[in-house]
Amino acid sequence: MFITAAFLLLAAGQAPLHDAQYPDVDIAYGAKVYAEKCVTCHGTQGDAIGGVNLRSGRFRNAVVDRDLERFIRAGSPAGMPAFNLDNAEMAGVIAYLRNMNASDNTAAKTGDVTRGRGIVEGKGGCATCHRIGVTGSRVAPNLSEIGSARSPGSIERSLLDPTSQMMPINRPVRAVMKNGATINGRRLNEDTYTVQLIDDREQLHSLLKSDIQQLTVSTTSPMPSFKGTLSDAEIADVVAYLLSLKGQ
């Protein structure tokens, strides 16, 4: 509920994600990333390097998250190597660092990857529209690298309120052609004179707008919400599995 409320504020452009508003799922995922990549030098309490106390959540050279991201990506001449984290890992680590003081990382809970996979491939019915690896439909966006592209919070919100997280490029389009044909599909690209899409039979089309009588772009996702369909624990499992999908 809190997440939904926070999102509504964001959707209206009312408030950015400030320190206290990092999604729990981002913080939890960040704790895992921290444990894998940061803990060797910085320690479990974030204070293993003299003069550096990560638990403070505040950093002299990284006031805003963008600075923190830049610092992590570039490393430091003082001895920290550069870390090429993907989007999900970066969002997670930043959320975790900002909340390390309030977070007991031993208690941080993330879902179970194996159970999540079972739900995605089973009762979730995700493959009806989505493709992972060589399995599933191509009608909806391919999820093989979703764990690199999206933050944990964004994946979680996608499951609860799909329209809120639908990238504009993925919006469903309906093109009524001047020759009478109608093509329904998902938008892949668009410019001033053309639009590219994949239709509901997985056929790729590149249409000249001059050949289109009416082009309708919907802002509503055709994906159902899993709120109420899956339990909170199952949602966490699905998020954990999707976060494990990092592509080849």
């Binding site: 452009g13 408030a15 989007n87 964004s154 809120s164 990238m167 504009p168 919006r171 410019d191 001033t192």
Partner: protein, 559 residues
Amino acid sequence: MLNTQRAFAAGLVAIVCLLSFRLNAQITADRLTAAPNEPQNWLMYSGNYYSQRYSPLDQITPANVKNLKLQWVYQSPVAGNWQTSPIVVDGMMYITQRQNDVAALDATTGRAFWIYRYTPAQDRIVCCGANNRGLAILGDTLFMGTLDAQLIAIDAKTGHAIWKASVAKTTEGYSITHAPLVVKDKVIVGVGGGEYGIRGFIAAYDVTTGKEAWRFYTIPAPGEPGSETWQRCPPNSKSFCDPDAWKHGGGSIWMTGSYDAKLNLTYWGVGNVGPDYNGDQRPGDNLYTDSVVALDADTGKLRWHYQFTPHDVYDYDSVQVPVLVDNWDGSSINVITWANRNGNFYAIDRATGRFLLGKPFVKVNWMSDFDERGRPKQTPQGDGKPTYPGNQGGTNWYSPSYSPKTNLFYVPAWEDYASIYSPAPSEYKQGTNFTGGGPRNLSAVPGAPGLGRSPLNTWTDAAGHGAVIALDPGTGRAKWEFRMTDVTDAGILTTGSNLLFTGGREGYFQALDARTGALLWKTQLGAAINSGPITYRVGNRQYVEVVSGLSMFVFGLDN
């Protein structure tokens, strides 16, 4: 015999001297001033001192533009965003290419006569890639600013350097990316580095020796006029405030200025204040950032200024090319017309700096109105709320055009585009990023990473779109608009036959009817167009040039 030989030798020397005099006088200062009288050439970055990017050439017309054919292509060897705009002199084309190379080409075939290669210092500091936007010329000498803040004079016949002047220290964050401007016997350049806490300036150098003739700091020192706009930090300030803010106050120069020969004034747009977003640490209006300054071309003394965005917290650089227009709105007033990154179109009396007109050409919410002197009434949107136009502006550095044929001002614009700003204290440290926080774009999916632009326009028009807007310079009202799906960084060229050429991030190069905005011709060049097209004539053929991606394309009509 000896006497005969001596006489012959003396005669030969005299002939050679005469020849060299003739050649050295190839492009005189008078020819630069009278550049509109030789439309076959494109003698400086924006065509002539009025910077209208307009050519009276009219062989290519609305009726025959559909027959344009590719005449030649020149490919740059270095990958990256190629922002150059060439100059053309009597059948020769001179271009810069990344990083700081200069190529001399046959303007009818693209074949190279020579390539001058300059390798900028490895410790150079530039915010936005190895950009160089072009050259200036006088006599047989080309002038190029470099990424490591050098100014180099190059022999236009041989491609060898004649002199090199050190304009500023690159280790302190200074660079030069714009084409210099030659006025009489001086070559004028400014310095980039607005994201690295520089103290900006414009300087003039003797064309023959490279000796500095004058320097105008865009950030006044304490006690100088304008320094009162760098206010003292309030006592017991709760937020971080920098008592030496002026020392690294930005005010970069990264686009070429203009020149009014009758007034002997040269006009330059000044970039953002440093740090970009955190206003608390630099109280005051922060002159002369985000201003146009009118300088005496002989002395560099400030004649007047107008500040578009006082105390900017949005990175609204005012580096746009100043476009000079005579007899504004049917009056006797000669003006500068200016579509600013802050989203407003302006007309300013270029003799006095008097504000005549300010009107938004895109959605603007950082201000509501102007007072009678042209000072904007600012309306900060507050934490987390979107500010229009967004960080990249309603327009940016992309060359606009003014056509005296249509009396319309054409601006490449970003519409329905906003940013959310997160200012943060930023302590100056030499050579490091000094922005004071940062913006993020208002997106339909907050928090979702990975949105991009061309060639896959994953933002789509949900996060803004591009346009060419034709404005009446007398009123600032739009006469027509040509809308694009993706945004545009392409400049605009207009011609005497009422054609308008422009590109965009989508890679289309298109010709519009300058009177109506109707699409007359387009071709897909395969990569974003990031500079302004030019046109020229060699023999009896008119050419149109445009850079897309790593290639320069030149079009013309077949015989």
